[in-house]
């Protein structure tokens, strides 16, 4: 009996690890909203079903013919070895499991579920059935991902109640804070930075508050209202995500925006929307839900937004860089070691107002323009807006400029998509001085990876970047090919980022700008 229990200890630890992983995946997949958790299981069949646990079943078969006194040791050894493999393979997650109240509630249900067989076994314990007991325990461990799924289903009514409780709490708060106005931000991408920039600019005069991090679901909005918003907040800047038809309505039921901003309409979540038209229509729901005294701000450079037929007659204002016929247009955009400077022309106003910002990149100029236009509309003076724009700080590793010795480093290490890389190249090429790019190329793009990197190489040549340092010979081959096909010569290949650093120091000129593009280790901090 004792050795039986001791032999189960490694299995128990294994179970905890697996359940933690299952909870983690459940949480990352929005607690199986739209069956995302099941889809994840389907995608990761190898990890969930065809794993080392299968070895245990062989032992069960073996146990039918071998003496149990020996089997106990065999089981224990097998459990320990598999546990060791699990532990050694464990990777540090980018976004770890958060032990929210919901996860705790799930844990309780799960504990009850697991206790039932344990209770039955130990109540009617019989040494003759040892192998059967092993089989049951092994099965419970093996099926942990499925059992977590079942737990989630069992807890659903409870979660619904909890959700409604928090929702009512949030609704009550919104009702009480009648003077707080809501600004909704949606779009296919760039919502988070847009939201933060708008909030930051409004904060030169008001007490605006954005939904934290990338909270953008009804749950996130409710959470922010209940835990972050205080009675002094006069503007609540809400990021609203729309991954399928109806998402926006779910959010506007909780907070009804008076002002709405659409960043850019792209093809993100095309799969769940069904068509591009559906994406477009859904994003515009936010505009169409505005009250008659509201205001919608659109990007005048986005033809999809400009050509959309809006179903209500709410006031619309536009921002833009290329489009001349907008309410706030940025011209004379100049980049330097101090960041970006530009002039803003407002419709029906001949004066050009000069703004300076530490932010880089075209998308950020759009975001700043939105903040400026909205701020002006809400009664902030131009002088104060200038201060507000100057106060907006870049997000670390996202086109963030920092001085490093005699070099100006533009850190864009968190970017991993082709559009972002192109924008970074544009920024670098506009810098007044020698330009160097350091990149290991883009990864994790699936079948598009080779082509995307090849195009990236061609674009580096097109933007006339002075020097290129490729990190990792093998993985940067497609970029090199793109550069060679454009007859670009100044390519240097190094194996390690440290070598790249020495190299660029030796290449530096009076004023040198180095773009660190794509996933590079944090060596400059």
């Amino acid at each position: 009996m004792n050795s039986f229990i001791v032999s189960l200890i490694p299995l128990l630890i294994l179970l905890i690890i697996k359940i933690k992983k299952a909870f983690h995946m459940l949480q990352q997949n929005w607690y199986n909203k739209s069956n995302r958790y099941l889809k994840w299981i389907n995608k990761n069949k190898n990890e969930v079903f065809f794993n080392y646990d299968l070895v245990f079943f062989l032992l069960v078969i073996l146990g039918m013919s071998i003496d149990m006194n020996i089997m106990v040791y065999l089981y224990c050894i097998a459990f320990s070895i598999v546990l060791y493999i699990y532990l050694s393979k464990k990777k540090k997650a980018k976004k770890p499991l958060v032990f929210t109240a919901r996860v705790k509630r799930l844990s309780i249900t799960l504990l009850i579920l697991y206790s039932i067989p344990c209770f039955l076994i130990f109540k009617n314990f019989n040494l003759d059935n040892l192998n059967l007991y092993y089989f049951i325990f092994i099965l419970l461990v093996y099926l942990s991902f499925v059992i977590v799924y079942i737990t989630n289903i069992i807890n659903k009514p409870v979660e619904r109640m909890v959700f409604l409780h928090f929702k009512n709490m949030a609704l009550k708060k919104v009702k009480e804070m009648s003077s707080m106005e809501i600004i909704g931000v949606t779009g296919s991408y760039g919502k988070t930075s847009s939201k933060n920039i708008i909030s930051s600019i409004l904060n030169v005069k008001y007490n605006a508050f954005p939904t934290p991090e990338n909270y953008n679901t009804p749950y996130g909005i409710i959470n922010t209202l209940n835990n972050y918003i205080d009675k002094f907040n006069d503007y609540f800047v809400v990021e609203i995500s729309a991954t399928k038809v109806g998402d926006i309505k779910d959010c506007t039921e909780i907070v009804r925006p008076k002002y709405a901003v659409i960043t850019k309409i792209g093809e993100a979540h095309l799969e769940s929307f069904g068509s591009k038209k559906a994406i477009e229509d859904t994003k515009f729901e936010i505009i169409e839900a505005l009250p008659s005294d509201g205001l919608g701000i659109l990007n005048g450079d986005d033809p999809i937004q400009m050509n959309h037929k809006i179903l209500n007659n709410v006031k619309i204002m536009t921002i833009g860089i290329d489009n001349e016929n907008v309410d706030a247009r940025a011209v004379n955009i100049k980049l330097s070691s101090n960041g970006t400077s530009f002039d803003v022309i407002f419709k029906n106003d001949k004066t050009k107002y000069h703004f300076e910002s530490y932010l880089l990149g075209k998308n950020n100029i759009y975001n700043l323009l939105t903040g400026i236009l909205l701020g002006k509309y809400l009664g902030i003076s131009i002088d104060q807006l200038k201060l507000g724009v100057k106060n907006v700080m870049p997000v670390p590793h996202r086109l963030e400029m920092k001085k490093h010795g005699n070099l100006y480093i533009i850190d864009d290490a968190y970017n991993s998509n082709p559009e972002g890389s192109l924008m970074a190249l544009e920024v670098l090429s506009m810098m007044p001085g020698k330009t160097i790019i350091v990149t290991p190329g883009m990864v994790d793009l699936g079948p598009l990876e080779y082509q995307a990197n090849y195009e990236f190489g061609k674009n580096i040549a097109k933007n006339k970047i002075d020097e290129v340092i490729l990190v990792g010979e093998k993985q940067t081959l497609p970029i090199k090919k793109g550069l060679e096909d454009s007859k670009y010569k100044k390519v240097h290949v190094v194996e390690d980022i440290k070598d790249a650093f020495n190299l660029m120091s030796s290449m530096r000129d009076k004023e040198t700008y180095v773009l660190l593009e794509n996933d590079l280790p944090d060596v400059f901090n």
Binding site: V204, K205, Y206, N207, K231
Partner: protein, 393 residues
């Protein structure tokens, strides 16, 4: 709804002025956004609250006021700022979220009240402890302004005790300034105890008057052929804006207390609700765009170097011929909160008050982000306490 505590009164010579300013302000608060909670400090420093305090007529009869208004203390309890009755069952009478101090003069406007708000951590509109206390002392304020290159009127100062023991040398210093001079108590406002002296004979009497109000006396040179102009500034250390400029005209040599607040009638509150707005004035002051701009910039500078916040009014003397400008003094919480200057700038009183409260909250939020104390208790590892029953070794 945000609960806005409007606090006023206090043991100060400007007690009544403060009541007038506060009642005026309470009448103009945006009632859709704020719920006004009046907090009145009597001359004997007792705090009262109650809705009847919004009405000016209650102040005619103090015994009535003391009977019906609730005597309270303000402190922090369970994360809220509560007004608790000091009598009977000591009930919590009301709570407030943010304070708008409309107080004038010593014991309140000089940073003492701001200090109390800082200590309990409630956001408040108006100057910080430092700004308010510098602004209350006409000598220190001049010293700070001079260092920052702001033109001030030539002056000399002394304590009453020095005057009693060393009169001759002080009179000599005053003579050096050149008559006529203005004698002022250094830490009073609203022209109280202020006298102009044309010669040495008058000055002794003027000093005697000033000494009856304060133990620190300042004597300033009179700037001849000058006019008094005022400009209000709104903002905080990050951003400031200046209002329209007024020219204050005066029948006598300078604006007396009666002229400023009482509208001429001897001691009676003839036009109480007008307060400071009733002094004879020209807005905007006819001094031309260039000078206007210059005065506005100077006002903002004064606001910044004196660490002010909220709304203030800077008083100047301007010689229209030579275009010489002198800063007389800033009023860190000006009478009537200078709303009449802002109306002229396109900001109605309601908006002005709203912006002041918003600034108060922003200031608090900015400060809260900076580290003020450590989460852990440093004394928790203090060995002396262990095993000695609470006594320090």
């Amino acid at each position: 709804m945000i609960k806005l505590g409007v606090i006023f009164g206090g043991e100060t010579v400007e007690h009544e002025v403060s009541i007038i300013s506060a009642v005026q302000a309470m009448e103009n608060v945006d009632e859709d956004k704020y719920e006004v909670v009046p907090i009145y400090i009597t001359k004997d420093r007792v705090w009262y609250t109650g809705n009847m305090l919004k009405d000016i007529s209650i102040y005619k009869d103090m015994s009535l006021l003391k009977r019906y208004a609730k005597e309270v203390v303000l402190y922090k309890k369970n994360g809220e700022f509560v007004l608790q009755s000091t009598k009977g069952f000591k009930k919590i009478v009301n709570t407030i979220d943010v304070v708008l101090p409309v107080v004038h003069g010593q014991n309140v406007e000089d940073g003492t009240l701001a200090g109390y708000f800082e200590s309990i951590g409630i956001p408040y509109a108006g100057p910080s402890v430092l700004g308010a206390s510098i602004g209350q002392d006409k000598v220190t304020m001049k010293e700070v302004m001079s260092v920052n290159g702001i033109p001030t009127i030539p002056y000399t100062w002394f304590y009453d005790i020095e005057y009693n023991t060393n009169k001759d040398s002080i009179l000599k210093d005053i003579k050096k300034l050149g008559y006529p001079v203005i004698v002022k108590p250094a830490r009073l406002g609203s022209s109280i105890g202020v006298t102009v002296s044309k010669n040495e004979k008058d000055v002794e009497e003027a000093i005697a008057t000033a000494i009856s109000y304060d133990n620190k006396i300042i004597v300033e040179k009179v700037i001849l052929d000058s006019m008094e102009i005022n400009c209000s500034v709104l903002g905080n250390y990050e951003y400031t804006e200046a209002s329209a400029i007024e020219q204050v005209s005066s029948k006598t040599d300078f604006l007396t207390y009666q002229e400023k607040y009482l509208g001429g009638g001897k001691g009676k509150l003839k036009t109480p609700s007008k307060g400071m707005a009733s002094a004879s004035r020209i807005i905007p002051a006819p001094i031309g765009d260039k000078l206007t701009k210059e005065v506005q910039e100077l006002s903002k500078k004064v606001f910044k170097v004196l660490n002010l916040s909220g709304v203030c009014r800077v008083d100047f003397l301007l010689n229209p011929k030579t275009k010489d400008i002198y800063v007389i003094e800033p009023n860190t919480i000006p009478g009537s909160l200078s709303f009449y200057l802002w109306t002229e700038t396109g900001k109605d009183y309601k908006t002005l008050l709203d912006e002041m409260v918003t600034l108060a909250i922003r200031n608090k939020k900015v400060m809260d982000k900076k580290t003020h104390s450590f989460e852990s208790n440093i004394l928790s590892n203090f060995d002396g306490v262990k095993g000695c029953k609470g006594k320090l070794k």
